[in-house]
Subunit: 476 residues, 2 copies
Amino acid sequence: MKDRGASRTEAVMDAIRSRIAGRALSSGDRLPSIRSFAAAMRVSPSTVVEAYDRLAAEGLIRARRGSGFYVASSALPPLTLGEEGGGRIPEVDPFWVSRQSLDADPDAAKPGCGWLPPSWMPEAALRRALRNLARGESSLLTDYGGTRGAVALRRLLLARLVDEGLQVSGENLMLTGSGTEAIDLICRYVLRPGDTVLVDDPCYFNFRALLRAHQVRVVSVPYTPSGPDVELFEAVLAQEGPRLYITNSALHNPTGATLSPQTAHRVLVAAAAHDVTIVEDDIFADFEPEPSVRLAALDGLNRVVRIGSFSKTLSASMRCGYIAGAMEHIETLVDLQVATRFGGPSPMVTEVIADVLSAGNYRKHVEELRRRLTGARRAVGDRLRAMGIEPWLMPRGGFYLWCRLPEGCDSTAMARAALAEGLVLAPGNVFSVSESASPFLRINVAQCADERIWGIMQRSLNACSQSEPGAAVPGR
Amino acid sequence: MKDRGASRTEAVMDAIRSRIAGRALSSGDRLPSIRSFAAAMRVSPSTVVEAYDRLAAEGLIRARRGSGFYVASSALPPLTLGEEGGGRIPEVDPFWVSRQSLDADPDAAKPGCGWLPPSWMPEAALRRALRNLARGESSLLTDYGGTRGAVALRRLLLARLVDEGLQVSGENLMLTGSGTEAIDLICRYVLRPGDTVLVDDPCYFNFRALLRAHQVRVVSVPYTPSGPDVELFEAVLAQEGPRLYITNSALHNPTGATLSPQTAHRVLVAAAAHDVTIVEDDIFADFEPEPSVRLAALDGLNRVVRIGSFSKTLSASMRCGYIAGAMEHIETLVDLQVATRFGGPSPMVTEVIADVLSAGNYRKHVEELRRRLTGARRAVGDRLRAMGIEPWLMPRGGFYLWCRLPEGCDSTAMARAALAEGLVLAPGNVFSVSESASPFLRINVAQCADERIWGIMQRSLNACSQSEPGAAVPGR
């Protein structure tokens, strides 16, 4: 019955479409009245109304309130992927990888991107959670959420933080629109234009993009396999007086290195001596084989603010992050989020996340991810070495390999060559404030399953070996 | 079968709970091994694993990687509504109404809030859209979206904008995390600390909260039933040199007034003469009985930037807004949104919105809303008049009545008295930069169905009649 109704609606829509296509109806013309066209098509008036409404939603016709339907004044310009990014020649800057990978074809191979393929995500659990949501409370589907975000999800997060040894309560925690937005809120709260911010070199390229938006001075310290170079860290704090230090402690992006307890302790001592606030971005926590030291846990959320999200292990479509910090900071950050986006994540999104996290088999899913990633890191590492591309270290977990290209190769030139063949790579200098990482490339091992990428990698590597390094490094 | 499995899991969970409650297992103790406890409970090991995982998700126990499960080191602090807002004595500032209404009980009566009750929203369509999404493409459920937001929803928005006579293409449009976030992005793009921004007096209180976050100087012009007072508008532009003017053209918040064509034209001429950018917040567009003049349509997205969202007519839980503006602005705003939140709205949210908008009966839903609101404005208006509370004007649409209290009544005092009885009101001065609106109150007619509010309204009105006005007006 429903199907026959639907097909009748389609028939009416097609009839109108063909009249417009055939110029029987042209721009601005009034459509046949509901009643007369229903009679002509031998369908019920409600079928015609349904058809007209759908055509209006498509933009082909429009409803003029109180006076029927008219052929739309102009056709819609097509939205093509080509339009994305505005067709400009892309500068290889801190925005470059985000633009290329976010707007790439979902099925395109993206060894440069920072997330797992859909097939690695807990799809069944997400679909079940959505079915539950479709039967859920009305207010979840229609209302704004509370200013700190859904209680159910905050409970689950508190459980994890307490587990880590953090003495936290509800007043220390808030949900945000995304992990990036969590860092942005903290920056808005702590920073003023002209302030100095310290990051690792290399660091996640979007930290650089984010800090540009805050018009601050960015300084960096080299990152070692056990954390930032501590001597230089202490020197920079003394000389540059940064207000803020942004870092990943576990499975550092892009290197995959992990902070050592000794380094963590010295970093905190130096930060205390120079009154520096630290943002610890813990987004890769679940990929660790076993937990490593955390600045937030050592410091007890005194000068360290912890942020995270669910984009890497659960879903990046569920835009949601969190901030754990000192109570008085959270108070202000909650007001700031209300003022700047009228609250946190979508209540429907937080409901889905809480459902998947509490379903029980989430832990098994994450263990499976770790198992698969261990294999992928090994296999991809071997193939890269065979091409003369050396991992800087073999990380304990996660999906990144920070690799050094053969002598004389510039990764920016290689990334340009690869993009010309539709392959998105992440060249070293987008991660480097000092622009000193042109021989490096960040490879996402989970995005290397497609055999075709290896041919493109080899060709772009050959291409960039010919180009002399200096030339392709973008100026600041 | 599934149910029996679930009940067995529950039984195992209860057994562990009671051991912890009875101190047979205490903080830090290792739980029985999966195998032994499965034997003891006569269930399969997988049932015990499921039970332990759920208890871990609840925070009662924790999984130590590789070494089994332990009783969590500390119980979770309860998250109660009392904790929301941090328990401080609320200052009646531009954040006040947001805090009170966002964190209020979903079923609480909130004549002060800015949205419709869940029962007014297209619940069936939302549930259908969620069921469709549960069967949808994997990448929708797991991936980040494109930098400009979902193509399907942008197509529908373009259709509406073209309808209004705007010559727009895909390059003029982007989706944002919310309507407020759209304004915030534009402010970050246009404003620098110390700049001057012009708003209406009264204006939406969150414009004031948002601008505080940008550390700008805020000036205002009185709003008349046909738009801003044009003489004063021209004078303020000449004297104060604002960079930006933020306003609602149709069904202005809080007054419900509508911009007249003559005023619109003069506003644009003056803005051009003084090179002022205008943000036209069109969030109430769908509530108009018939379309009125729009600055964006007159100006052709030259110096006017249009923003909007779906929170008022479709769902506030679907956090999503949009910006329509000049192509070169959109380019930069897209990068800014990637830098500060790594993209726009949740792809799953935009999919649900596009589904509901294109289903066809959305237009009927909105017509029904308009019909109900016309009745509610009349009925609530009559009851208010009977209490000596006079609507400043009867709006053409929407759910706000901007009302003047009887002589000598101060709305801030009235709102405090009402809050003491659990009723959230929106006192005039939170909308007024000049703090000159203490005799006014914004009433949401759709939130007045609960009979009990009228007794509270009367008592708080009596209470504030006794208090002398000046006293309760908050200092700046």
